[in-house]
Subunit: 213 residues, 2 copies
């Protein structure tokens, strides 16, 4: 199968399918119809059939989907069949919170180290994960295979940090700094702009109010 | 102007315009052409003209946009012209990080209190913001006007927490729990599913690799 054929919109929905199928699996559900899955997920059954048809014939008319198989297959497409190692650059509040967040490791994302320039943070340990100095980043990445770097530093140093990470061979950046990074084409980037998300919520709230809801 | 006419796609882009215009304003820029703004933002000039035309004639052909006016106008559309008060339900690592994150208050989102059920957390203070007991939620909301509630509790209690917040009159929920909330139509909802974002990054990394980049 060629992943290149799958549309961005479908890709965006895959993690949600993965989450629902994982919950079904945990509850011992073996098969599920697109109708049942659609009722749970609040999407139309035809949307589900269309989306899942992208990955070949998992479903059989009138027989439903094999939950375990589909979960595994979507996981494989998302690259979750192999553990990923991650570092967090910026050991402030958000970086510390991520070090302690158990959901990442449950999904196979293992945090190897935190990095910071703050002498008061360097040497400290959060959830068993050590804060190293940025001066040690190069040596660390030469010794340790790291797939993903999360950037949780403030806006101003973020572009420099990102460039350094890319120069040292990092191929995937998860950016929380409220700025846009311009990275080489071969580097995967995913932004989480928290304040922008909050602004969208503010807009939605205002829109509901002006609808008189 | 009727906000109802603006498409969701434009709304999604507004916080980013707001951020860029705010930076220009900080740098003392008074006017900017759509061409210049497009180069900075990495969008086409025609996209910018189309987007900003939604809000009436801010720009004049060959003369550019008035940065201060446009920034203020977009802020107004996003509802940022008035301060918003916020509570955080779930005073764990993520809730604590948000209490300490200065970017929210800078944009006018003021956190009034944290709430938790954990006796070890209740009574503690993070960045001057107190952790209150969930038992005090009702009384607190009767006394204090709160616009937004962030939910940073684990997956399982999240739907119950959300229902309680809605019952007590909260009209906007910022959900970080890795689950889908089903809320009445009049309540604004914005989800930030961190693990799903990480899965999308994992997919992008895999896609880049398979392109041979």
């Amino acid at each position: 199968m060629n992943n290149g054929e799958i549309s961005t919109a479908v890709i965006k929905r895959l993690p949600r399918y993965y989450r629902y199928l994982g919950e079904l699996l945990n509850n011992g559900v073996v098969r599920i119809s697109s109708k049942e899955l659609s009722e749970r997920m609040g999407v139309t059954a035809s949307q589900i059939r269309q989306d899942l048809n992208n990955f070949g014939g998992f479903g059989q008319q009138g027989y439903g989907y094999n939950v375990d198989y589909l979960h595994g297959e979507i996981g494989r497409i998302l690259g979750l069949d192999e553990k990923k190692s991650m570092i967090i650059v910026g050991a402030g509040h958000l970086g510390q919170a991520f070090a302690k967040y158990s959901d990442f490791v449950k999904r196979g994302f293992v945090i190897k180290a935190l990095f910071d320039i703050d002498k008061d943070l360097i040497g400290r340990t959060f959830n068993g994960i050590k804060v190293l100095s940025m001066d040690d980043l190069k040596a660390f990445l030469e010794e340790t295979q790291v797939d993903i770097a999360a950037i949780t530093v403030p806006k101003d140093p973020a572009p420099k940090v990102a460039n350094e990470l890319v120069k040292l061979g990092i191929k995937a950046i998860w950016n929380f700094a409220p700025t846009d990074l311009s990275l080489p084409r071969e580097v995967a980037l995913e932004n989480v702009h928290l304040t922008e998300s909050l602004m969208r919520l503010s807009y939605k709230l205002k829109a509901k109010e002006s609808e008189g809801l």
